[in-house]
């Protein structure tokens, strides 16, 4: 029988954002299906719906003709679906072989059958051609090795449908070649494989059909990949909605002293020879794939991890930033984090308190008492200015939509009167309209003289906003491009920089 997984008109909403809107996808046994889209386009959500981690709001899932959504990951596994999730899903204290067989540990009368376990795990690793000590505890492995264990874990279930969510993100090219051999063998044996990757050349090497998601909608639905050129796929991924907008080239005066200048910076995390300059009122883009080391660079410069060598100048003066507090209060640098729920907001605090958290020292009356009047007026000011949709500024931050939450987390830095703002992946998980208004805000702030470093994996966003684009790969800068804001030439230039280095 021919394996088939069919998704029809699947929709899913989270509080404040529509993650998937009537998405269709069909994948068949004996072929490899690429699922493409930018960060936040809905790929991972879709995979989680297929595997029963999330429940779809509406739509149909058909596995081999049987119409049924899975209620739990177990049901999906039992139905012959295996998945390598993007997040690490291993038990750190367990051995490699036990992790590989975690779904169905071989047992006899409730006792673990160790010989069988070893056999299964060894077989899986041998099939893959990976060499890892079966008895080593997973917590002692490198990230690449963990990724290989994840892949082996999915393969050992003998699934008919295999979903691979960015399996190559952290493994070497040699290991990738081995993985592709395995995928080809699976394909020959009639397995249906879903392959998610940001690396287009990999997709062209291994995939037969393609579905592209953009802002939660399926733009290309299960088309033969050979009919599309790389450029067309990229267009489908990023869309023209941004390109259609009036994009103007901004004038940045680079003859003055840069507000921030890095020279030959090395960090403990592994950055090498990073040199860059940020000029007043500039939007400096930093593009790279996930894991290229962009956020890590920002955090190192801000004093969270520290710099091991090199020179950091602010307004022409060599400085050392010891902590984020230093960065904020002494040097007026703000950092809008990419994990707004985990690091950006106090979800159970009202908007008012979220905005005032960076300026408590400035709104004090005597004896360390906070002036509620000032707090109220400052927060109201930013709520109005950024158009944050709230009932009043006492509404809890946790009840806002993603876009509004992001605006709150920007507000607290604006309130602190920062001169440099590092914005990390600002529009992941927000809807199109909020995204657009956010983009306008960034340009507006830069026009007012704020110097902005924009970290983003969203190519269209990068090209429409940045004045100059730095390209980072493997903790090194591999490109520095003046942004002409012409989508076609820029995207080509950036891709070349990433892949030729």
């Amino acid at each position: 029988m021919n394996t088939e997984l069919r998704i029809e008109k699947v929709s899913k909403s989270f509080p404040g954002v529509k993650a998937l809107n009537e998405v269709n996808l069909t994948m068949k046994g004996g072929s490899v299906h690429a699922l493409l889209g930018e960060n936040g386009a809905g790929k991972s959500t879709l995979i989680k719906i297929i595997t029963g981690v999330y429940r779809a709001d509406s739509g149909v899932l058909k596995t081999n003709g049987e119409e049924k959504f899975f209620n739990s990951p177990v049901e999906a596994t039992d139905a012959g679906i295996a998945v390598v999730h993007q997040e690490r899903n291993l038990i750190p204290e367990f051995s490699v072989e036990e992790n590989i067989t975690l779904h169905h540990p071989p047992t006899k009368f409730g006792i673990v059958d160790r010989a069988e376990r070893t056999r299964l795990a060894r077989q899986a690793l041998e099939t893959l051609g990976f060499d890892i000590d079966l008895n080593e505890r997973v917590k002692n492995l490198s990230v690449a090795q963990m990724q290989l264990v994840e892949i082996a874990k999915a393969l050992v279930t003998n699934a008919q449908i295999i979903l691979l969510d960015e399996p190559t993100a952290s493994i070497t090219s040699g290991e990738t070649i081995k993985l592709f051999d395995v995928i080809k063998r699976l394909k020959e044996s009639g397995t249906a494989v879903l392959f998610v990757s940001h690396k287009l050349e990999e997709v062209y090497e291994i995939c037969d059909t393609v579905t592209v998601l953009r802002d939660g909608e399926s733009i290309l639905e299960s088309k033969p990949l050979s009919e599309y050129k790389q450029g067309e796929i990229v267009d489908a991924m990023v869309g023209r909605h941004l390109a259609d907008r009036k994009v103007e080239l901004r004038k940045v005066n680079r003859s003055v002293e840069p507000v921030m200048q890095l020279t030959d910076i090395h960090t403990a995390l592994g950055h090498e020879k990073i040199s860059m300059s940020l000029y007043p009122g500039e939007v400096l883009g930093m593009y790279g794939l996930v894991g290229a080391g962009r956020s890590e660079l920002a955090r190192s410069v801000l004093g969270l991890h520290g710099i091991s060598s090199g020179e950091l100048k602010l307004n022409g003066q060599v400085v050392e930033i010891k902590s984020l507090r230093d960065a904020l209060h002494k040097h007026r640098i703000g950092y809008v984090t990419e994990n707004r729920k985990e690091e950006g907001l106090f979800l159970d605090f009202p908007v008012r308190k979220n905005i005032s958290v960076t300026i408590l020292s400035k709104i004090l009356k005597k004896l360390g008492v906070i002036s509620f009047q000032e707090e109220d007026s400052v927060s109201t000011k930013y709520v109005d200015r950024l158009g944050i949709k709230v009932v009043d500024n006492n509404q809890l931050a946790g009840t806002l939509s993603g876009g509004n939450q992001q605006k709150v987390s920007v507000s607290k830095w604006l309130a602190a009167d920062t001169k440099i703002l590092i914005i990390d992946e600002p529009t992941v998980g927000v809807d199109v309209r909020t995204k657009a208004s956010f983009h306008e805000l960034i340009v507006e702030l830069a026009n007012e003289g704020l110097s902005i470093i924009l970290i983003s994996s969203d190519l269209a966003e990068m090209i429409s906003l940045a004045d100059r684009i730095l390209v980072m790969r493997d903790y090194q800068l591999v490109g520095d491009l003046d942004n002409s804001k012409d989508y076609t030439t820029m995207s080509r230039g950036i891709m070349t920089a990433i892949h030729s280095a």
Partner: protein, 342 residues
Amino acid sequence: MSPLTRIRRIVGDQRVVLTLLTVGLFLYFGMKNSAFFSTDFVIYPLLRDGAVLTVIGLAQLCALSIGHLNLAVGRMAAVAALAAGASYQYWHLALIPGLLIGLVTGALLGAITGWMIVKSQVNAFIVTLAMDFALLGFVTFIYVTFTGATAAFTTKPAGMEYWRNTSLHQYCIAGHCGPRVFPMMLVPAIIALILVGFMYAKTRMGRELLATGSNLRAAKLSGIPVDRRVIMAHTLSGLLAALAGVMLAFTNGSFTASIGSQFMLPSFLGPVLGGTLLVGGAVQVLGTFIGTMLTLVIRQGLSVQGIGLETLNIALGLVLLTALSLGQIQKMFTSIRMRGRT
């Protein structure tokens, strides 16, 4: 706001419910046995105990505000009482200087605990648990070594009796005297309530402590010195535990190793019943007082009924578990409501 939602909001406020429950239970016990309304034998001691336990509840609340807990509150109270007692016994200090020595001792212990948590990055539970055992050994050792068989410092500084036995009744303005049921011991408790409440509601320090408790990483990224705030929370916890310990020693009339040994459960009961979150980020200072009084009314009420200590424990444990489950149910409802709205 419609009248209905206003009513709903008032009724939904945990503190209102708790106060009604406390008063209701108080009246119920009084009607079943009029001895319960006795000023001298029931209400005065009840309020006096309430004062001590409110302060220990506040000590726990400070740790809870940053999402930690302090299992050593009782033993910190014991060490502080020990220090105060020793200063009266050996250096013949007056009441206030001795009290200050006790408070400083408690604050120091708290600071050391906080420092250890920050430096070792070990869970606050285990640090304070180990602290508790270390201090337990220390306190017993000191009492036994210095006072032999009595195992107590018995020197009473001048003024101790006053705090122990008198009420506001002796203060009269224009012929109107204060109520006899109001123990002087409530005065320090009320001061502590006001100061702690003021700190969390209005000051930068309080806000930063709550921010640390609400989301440590976000607090750090917002430039709050989270390590220092953690130490501060534990210092305050130690300071308040010390105050409670010395207050209890005054109530008992002597300084012994057993001071604080019954503090752990009440220190959680007050804040938790009062609506303070265990995860940090929100505190209910007044609620701590009301929650403490509720547990005391239950305790005293049952004991006036002639019901023994064992049933009291059972009742208090059930109250705690019920309150926790109700809180959880309420939270589930809110999250369902929130989901429905968006």
